[in-house]
Amino acid sequence: MSAVLEVEAVSKRFGGVAAVRDLSLRVEEGEILGLIGPNGAGKSTVFNLINGVYAPDRGRIVFRGTDITGAPPYRIARLGLARAHQIVQPLTGLSVLDNCTVGACFGREDLPLEEARAAAREVAAEVGLGGQIDMPAGQLTTAGKKRLELARALSARPHLLLLDEVLAGLNPAEVEQMIDIVRGIRKRGVAILIIEHVMRAIMSLSDRIVVLNLGSLLAQGSPSEVAADPQVITAYLGAAEPAQDAERTP
Amino acid sequence: MIAILASVFDGVLVGAVYGLAAMGLTLIWGVMNVINLAHGAITVFGMFGLYFLATELGLPAYSAVPISILGGFVAGVALYWIAVHRIIGRPELMSLLATFAVNMMLVGIGTALWTTSPFNVPVSLPGVTWEGYTFTGTHMMAAVLAVVIAGLLYVFLHHTRTGKAIRAVADNRGAAELSGIPTAQMLALAFGLGIALAAVSGTLIATMFPFTILSGEAYQLKSFVVTVLGGLGNPAGALIGGIALGLVEGIATRFMPVSWIPIIEFGLFVLCLLAFPRGIFAPSKA
C-alpha cells in the first residue's frame, strides 16, 4: 500500500507550549483515518500543520510524494488536499453555488469557471444542498453550513480530505446523513483524515485510529484495538465520561 | 559623544509620550478589534485643548492634562455610541472606514476653527543643564506624566473590577457576556479610555512642540509604528515601543533633515510588519 500523506517526526511549539511533539502518522490510499484525543491534545494544530496554516518547527510532511513542509495553504490545496473546518468559514456574501465554485476553480483540477460551476452544482446536490444553491451562504442553518464546508472541500476533487468535527452541533438525524455522505466520499477513492468527538461515529467510520495526547502519539490501531488499549482508557476515555462528546477543542 | 547621549536621552523622554499615545490605539485594538483611524485627529484636538485652555483662557498649562483626559473620555464614549457600536463584529473594512470618516469630520471642523497654520503654546518650565547641554523642562515633565498615566492605566486594568471586566471582554466577548458583564458598556468605556489617552498625549506633545491641525497624521503614523514595535494589543509593550521610537528619532535627527523622519518611520513600520507577518497579525485565537 502506498501512503497519501506521511507526517514524519513533526513538532510545533507556541511560545513555551509544545502543541505537537515528534508526531508521525501515515494516511494510506483510500483509507479513513480517525484522529482522536482529549481537548487540547493538538488535533486541530495537526490539521493546521498539514494544510500549511502553520509551518512545523521540525519534521517533514509529504503529500503523494511531494514535500509540502512549510508550503502555503493555497499551494497545498492545489495538490489535492482539501479541508473542512471545525469552525465553519463560509464566504458569507457569496451564494452556496459560488462557494463551491471557488473550491472547484482553485482545487486540484484547476477548472475554468464554467466547468467549475457545473462541478460545484453536482457536488452541492450530492451533499443535499441542491435546493439552496442560490442562497447566500451566510443564511444557511448550522447543519447547512457544515454541509457547505464539506461540499466546498469536495468540489476541489481532492485526493485527501481533512474533516475537522463535521458532526459537531448536528442533531442525530443530521449526524446519520453526514456519516452516509462521508462513506460515499470514501467509496470514490478519496482518503479521509477525520477529527471527531462523536465516539460512536468515528469508531464505525474509521479503518484505523490514531490517539493523540498532549501533542504526541499515544496509540494507534484498529478501532477495537484502540478502544481496548488501557493507556487510551486512562488518558482519554476514562478521564472524562460521555460528557466529553459534547465538548470541543478550543 | 555627550551630544549624542543628550539626544538619546531626549529621545527617550519624547518617546514616553509617543508610547502613551500608542497605548490609546493599542487598547482599543486589543479590546474590540477596531483600528482607530481617528486617533491622529483626536491627538490634535488634545493639542488644541492646551492652546485653548492655556493661551485663550490663561489657565496654567498643566491643568490641561486632567481636562484633556476627562474631555477625551467623554468624547470617546460618545464617539463609541455614535460611530463604533454598530460596526463591532462587522468586517474590518467597515471599522476602518467608519473611524476614518470621523477623522475627516474632526479635521474638517478643526480646519474651519483654527485654519492650517502652525500654533505654539509657550510653556515655561526650568530645564536641567549638564556639561553645556540643557534638558528641556517640558520634555522631562511630559515624560514623567506619561509614565504616571500609563501606570494608572495599568493599575486600573489589572487591579480593579471594571478593569478586569474590560480585559475579560477583550479576551472572549461571548464568555464575558455569559458571565453577566455588560459588554457594550465595557467596550464604550475602553474606547473612551483609548481616546482619552490619545487626547492627553496630544496635550503633552503640544507642551513640547509647535503643531497644526494636520499634525495628526504624522503622530498617528508614529503610534502605528510604536504599536507594531511593541506588539499589537499590548499596552505595556506600547510604552517600550514608544521609547524605542523616540530613541531612533533622537539619533536620526542628528544625521538627516527632519523632513525625512516620516519616511524613515514609514520604512520602519513596513519592515517591522514584513519581518513578523505571522507573529503580529495572526489572531492569537487561531
Binding site: 494544510n51 496554516v53 502555503p72 495553504p73 493555497y74 499551494r75 490545496a77 492545489r78 482539501a82 479541508r83 473546518h85 468559514q89 463560509p90 464566504l91 458569507t92 457569496l94 459560488d98 471557488v102 473550491g103 476553480c105 482553485f106 475554468p112 469557471l113 467549475a116 466546498r152 476541489a156 | 483600528i35 483611524l37 460611530a83 454598530r86 460596526i87 462587522r90 468586517p91 474590518e92 473594512l93 467597515m94 476602518l96 472606514l97 467608519a98 476614518f100 470618516a101 470621523v102 477623522n103 475627516m104 469630520m105 479635521v107 474638517g108 480646519t111 474651519a112 503614523l221 502605528f224 507594531v228 516620516p262 519616511i263 514609514f266 513600520f269 513596513v270 510588519l273 514584513l274 497579525f281
Partner: protein
C-alpha cells in the same frame, strides 16, 4: 451589460460634441475622471476587500510620466499615456508583492505611506521640476491640431478610458480571477485554504487597478497643462474616491460609477454655497459614516435589496 456601458460612453462622448457645449464637456470630463478613479479603486475595495487610501498615487505618477514624455521627449500623447499606464502598473505589481503581505489597517496605512513617500520623492526630484512641477508649453498641443481641438480629443480619450474601466470591472467580476478576489474579500484565510493563490491575486489586482487611473492621469494633466506634487498626489481626492465607491455600492460594476457621478453633483452644489465650501471634508466624512453605518451595500446594495430582479442584469 457591456453594450450598456458602450452605449452610455458613446452618448457621453457625442452629446456635448453635437451641441458644442463646452461647459457640459468640462463637467462630464471631471465626472469621468472620478468614475475612472472610483471604478478602479472598487477592484481593490469592493472585490478584494482591501482599502487603498493612496489610490491617487497611480493617477499622479501616470500624469507625471506622461506629461514628462510629452514635454521633454515630444512623444505623442496616446503613446505617452499608455506607457505611463504600463510603467505604473509594473511598479504597482512589484510593490504589491511586498506590501500586500500586510492585512487590514496595516495595508491601508502603508498605502497612505506610499502616497506620501512618492510625493516627497517627486518634490525633491529635479528632472520633474521639483516642488513647482512641470508646465506644458503651448506648442505641446500642436500635434493634436491646436488647444481647441486637443481638448476635444482628450475628452474623447478620457471617455474611452472610463468605458474601459467599467468593462474591466465587468470582465474581472465574471472571471475566475474575480471569483478568487471576491473570495479573498470575504474571508482571506478560507480562500487560501480553498486554493486561491492569495499573494499573487492581491498583487495582480493592485497592479490592474493602477493601469487605467495612470492613463487617465496622463490625459487629465495633459489637459491641465501643469502638474505639481500637491495636485498630483492629493490624499483628499483619494479619499473622495473611497466615498464614491461606498456611496454607489462596493463590489458592483456600475455602483462606483453611479457613486462618482452622484458625489460630483453633490460636491458641485456644496461648493457653490458659501457655508458649505469650507466644510467639504466634514460633509464627505459624515456621508461616509452614514453609508458605512446604515447602508453598507451603498446605492446598488439598496436597489438590489428592494428590487431583487435587478440582480440578474444590473451588476
Amino acid at each position: 451589460m457591456p453594450w450598456l456601458i458602450l452605449l452610455a460612453a458613446l452618448g457621453c462622448a457625442l452629446i456635448p460634441y453635437w451641441t458644442d457645449d463646452v461647459q457640459l464637456r468640462e463637467g462630464l470630463l471631471l465626472a469621468a475622471v472620478y468614475v475612472i478613479l472610483a471604478s478602479n479603486l472598487n477592484l481593490m475595495i469592493g472585490y478584494a476587500g482591501y482599502i487603498n487610501f493612496g489610490n491617487i498615487v497611480f493617477f499622479g505618477l501616470g500624469g507625471y510620466i506622461s506629461v514628462y514624455l510629452v514635454s521633454e521627449w515630444h512623444w505623442p500623447l496616446p503613446a505617452a499615456a499608455v506607457l505611463a499606464g504600463v510603467a505604473v502598473s509594473a511598479v504597482a505589481l512589484l510593490f504589491g508583492l511586498g506590501i500586500l503581505r500586510l492585512r487590514g489597517a496595516f495595508f491601508a496605512l502603508a498605502t497612505i505611506g506610499i502616497n506620501e513617500a512618492v510625493r516627497q520623492l517627486v518634490t525633491n526630484f529635479e528632472p520633474w521640476g521639483g516642488a513647482s512641477g512641470i508646465y506644458l508649453a503651448f506648442d505641446a498641443y500642436e500635434p493634436l491640431g491646436g488647444p481647441m481641438q486637443a481638448l476635444w480629443i482628450v475628452y474623447f480619450l478620457v471617455i474611452a478610458v472610463t468605458a474601459l474601466s467599467l468593462l474591466l470591472s465587468f470582465a474581472i467580476k465574471n472571471s475566475k480571477f474575480g471569483l478568487g478576489l471576491i473570495a479573498i474579500g470575504q474571508n482571506e484565510n478560507a480562500a487560501a485554504t480553498l486554493g486561491v493563490p492569495t499573494p499573487l491575486y492581491k498583487a495582480l489586482v493592485y497592479s490592474a487597478s493602477a493601469v487605467l487611473p495612470a492613463i487617465g492621469g496622463g490625459l487629465y494633466f495633459f489637459k491641465s497643462g501643469i502638474i505639481e506634487p500637491g495636485g498630483a498626489f492629493n490624499l483628499g481626492t483619494s479619499i473622495e474616491a473611497i466615498v464614491m465607491v461606498m456611496l454607489g455600492g462596493p463590489g458592483t460594476v456600475i455602483g462606483p460609477a453611479l457613486g462618482a457621478a452622484l458625489y460630483e453633483e453633490l460636491r458641485g452644489a456644496l461648493l457653490t454655497s458659501d457655508i458649505f465650501s469650507h466644510l467639504q471634508l466634514v460633509i464627505a466624512g459624515a456621508l461616509l459614516l452614514v453609508i458605512v453605518l446604515f447602508i453598507p451595500g451603498g446605492l446598488m446594495g439598496f436597489i438590489h435589496r428592494r428590487l431583487a430582479w435587478t440582480r440578474r442584469w444590473l451588476e
